[in-house]
């Protein structure tokens, strides 16, 4: 018995992360999952039954099984992957661009009051323009192809990220900043070693909001004009009177959006493990 345990421990040790005390929420989360799944499963079953009995008009609301079959068919013929890849690529590119710009400008305006007074009113003004209003202008400037789409998504992502970084940095505890000053950190070091880590929780909220808007704007961009992409499938389904294609596309958007968001959530949980807060962020 003891021989087994002495053998087993060194094998397990490298895989185990550094001991963290906050293991309590783990079992709780495992129990939460099925409860949250009850309602969607019931609704789907009801929908399936109603569709099969003909209570729902199949030309308007096809059964869930038909929607899934449509996705399977698209995947089998290989038609699905270019749509999926292109949409995902547009979102990621736009997200990257918007995040980079939002982070840089947010950090500057959050850290330097002078720059905030100079820049922030302008940016807040621009923020109040509904971003979709830019679409015609962007198409006019950059054409109907990729550039205008990516830029539109980037604009959508930019504002929540910018706001989160700026307010996150402004709200950093003065007392921690003073510790940095006592150790005579330079401006850049102070930003890197105090401001950025302290603003990280707010930053992640901004990133997730931004990503959500990115997914919203890719739909808008692809509906406006695209020959490929999940948004194109929406329009195509409408034109050809195939609601199962529209629903398939919506479902894929939901799955992709959820996957990318939970990637961010997981990253945030990992990086913010130090937080002493009530409950974990999900």
């Amino acid at each position: 018995m003891s021989a087994v345990s002495t053998l087993a421990t060194p094998l397990l040790a490298p895989a185990a992360p550094r001991p963290v005390r906050a293991t309590a929420p783990r079992p709780a989360r495992r129990w939460q999952w099925p409860l949250g799944a009850v309602l969607p499963v019931l609704l789907l079953a009801l929908w399936e039954v109603l569709a099969r009995t003909g209570a729902l008009p199949p030309n308007l609301l096809p059964a869930p099984s038909r929607v899934l079959a449509t996705i399977a068919e698209l995947a089998r013929t290989g038609e699905l992957w270019p749509h999926l890849g292109l949409t995902l690529g547009r979102v990621l590119l736009g997200f990257g661009l918007g995040t980079a710009l939002g982070t840089a400008l947010g950090a500057l305006t959050g850290y330097l009051p002078l720059l905030r007074r100079l820049l922030d009113p302008l940016l807040q003004g621009l923020r109040n323009i509904p971003s979709l209003a830019w679409v015609p202008l962007f198409i006019l400037w950059m054409g109907i192809y990729e550039t205008s789409k990516v830029v539109l998504i980037a604009v959508g992502v930019f504002f929540p990220v910018y706001l989160a970084v700026m307010s996150g940095i402004q709200n950093v505890d003065r007392k921690l900043v003073e510790v940095g000053r006592v150790y005579r950190l330079s401006g850049l070091e102070l930003v890197r070693r105090v401001f950025l880590p302290a603003a990280l929780p707010a930053y992640f909220v901004g990133l997730r909001n931004g990503l959500g808007l990115g997914w919203m704007f890719v739909v808008a961009a692809e509906i406006m004009g695209a020959t490929k992409g999940l948004g194109f499938l929406l329009v195509d389904g409408q034109m050809t009177g195939r609601p199962q294609t529209i629903l398939a596309s919506i479902l894929l958007f939901a799955v992709l959006g959820r996957c990318t968001d939970s990637l961010l959530a997981r990253l945030s949980r990992r990086l913010l493990r130090w937080q002493d807060t009530h409950g974990t962020t999900t």
């Binding site: 550094r18 007392k175 921690l176 510790v179 006592v182 150790y183 302290a198």
Partner: protein, 263 residues
């Protein structure tokens, strides 16, 4: 070591916090600033720390005028002020990141052993009790080997037992390297256990009303009659300044606003 020349401080809102403060600290001396809340003692410490600039007069550190925080100086605040995202070890090394890694590790290990927290080097601040966190803060200040250590009511948030043991820790450390200590407190016993000199601040704006040289032999026992006599004397020195205003005697009063004014 440290010289204050006719220091005055007026805040932007027009409030004058300090006027005509002159004080000289010898190397290795332990000096305590006491006084009622609002007498400007924390403000004075911030000026010495280089976190704020005096409106009049000047602070000389090793005969040079101070402009911003001095490298030979450490500060321990009322709260631990640890970076919540750094483990204890990294918090301790916060001020010595410019040193080689081995040197950092060696110094951190030594100083953590000094405050009795070697086992907690890998812990996050949220896993520490208040007293442990404050010990980490002390370790972080000591690891730079400061010639002047400034302490702003560093033990006021702790229970009496923790407080007493940290006094011991502090005196042990002081006996090692003999840094100059300048400490702000409103705890009369703390002032007497630690100090060579007690400086009493009083009034609005704060001025030095008295300086007492504490000649009790070390180690000092709180229960000794001499200590009790000194306590009486110091309480009187502080209390006399309040005899004019009976409305508030923060050190002795039991009224609720005395607590509110404590910070």
């Amino acid at each position: 070591m440290l010289q204050l020349d006719h220091i005055g401080k007026q805040f932007d809102n027009g409030v004058v916090a300090l006027a005509g403060i002159s004080l000289h600290l010898q190397a290795g001396e332990i000096v305590t600033l006491v006084g009622a809340s609002g007498s400007g003692k924390s403000t004075l410490l911030r000026l010495v720390a280089g976190l704020d600039a005096p409106s009049t007069g000047r602070v000389l550190m090793k005969n040079e005028p101070l402009s911003g925080p001095h490298p030979a100086m450490g500060v321990i605040f009322q709260e631990p002020r640890l970076m919540p995202w750094l483990r204890v070890q990294d918090n301790v090394c916060f001020g010595i990141r410019h040193l080689p890694a081995e040197e950092q590790a060696a110094r951190a290990a030594a100083v953590l052993a000094r405050v009795g927290l070697s086992k907690f080097a890998g812990a996050l601040p949220r896993q520490l009790s208040g007293g442990m966190a404050q010990r980490v803060a002390i370790a972080r200040a000591l690891v730079t080997r400061p010639a002047l250590l400034l302490l702003d009511e560093p033990f006021s948030a702790l229970d009496p037992f923790t407080k007493a043991s940290l006094h011991e820790h502090l005196l042990d450390v002081w006996a090692d390297a003999r840094p100059t200590l300048l400490l702000v407190t409103h705890d009369v016993e703390e002032a007497l256990v630690l100090s060579d000199r007690v400086v009493v601040l009083h009034g609005h704006p704060g001025r030095i009303s008295q300086t007492l040289r504490v000649d009790l032999p070390r180690p000092r026992r709180r229960t000794s009659p001499e200590f009790q006599q000194w306590k009486e004397r110091l309480l009187q020195a502080i209390g006399n300044e309040h005899s004019g205003s009976t409305a508030q005697k923060p050190l002795l009063s039991l009224s609720t606003d005395a607590n509110a004014a404590g910070g």
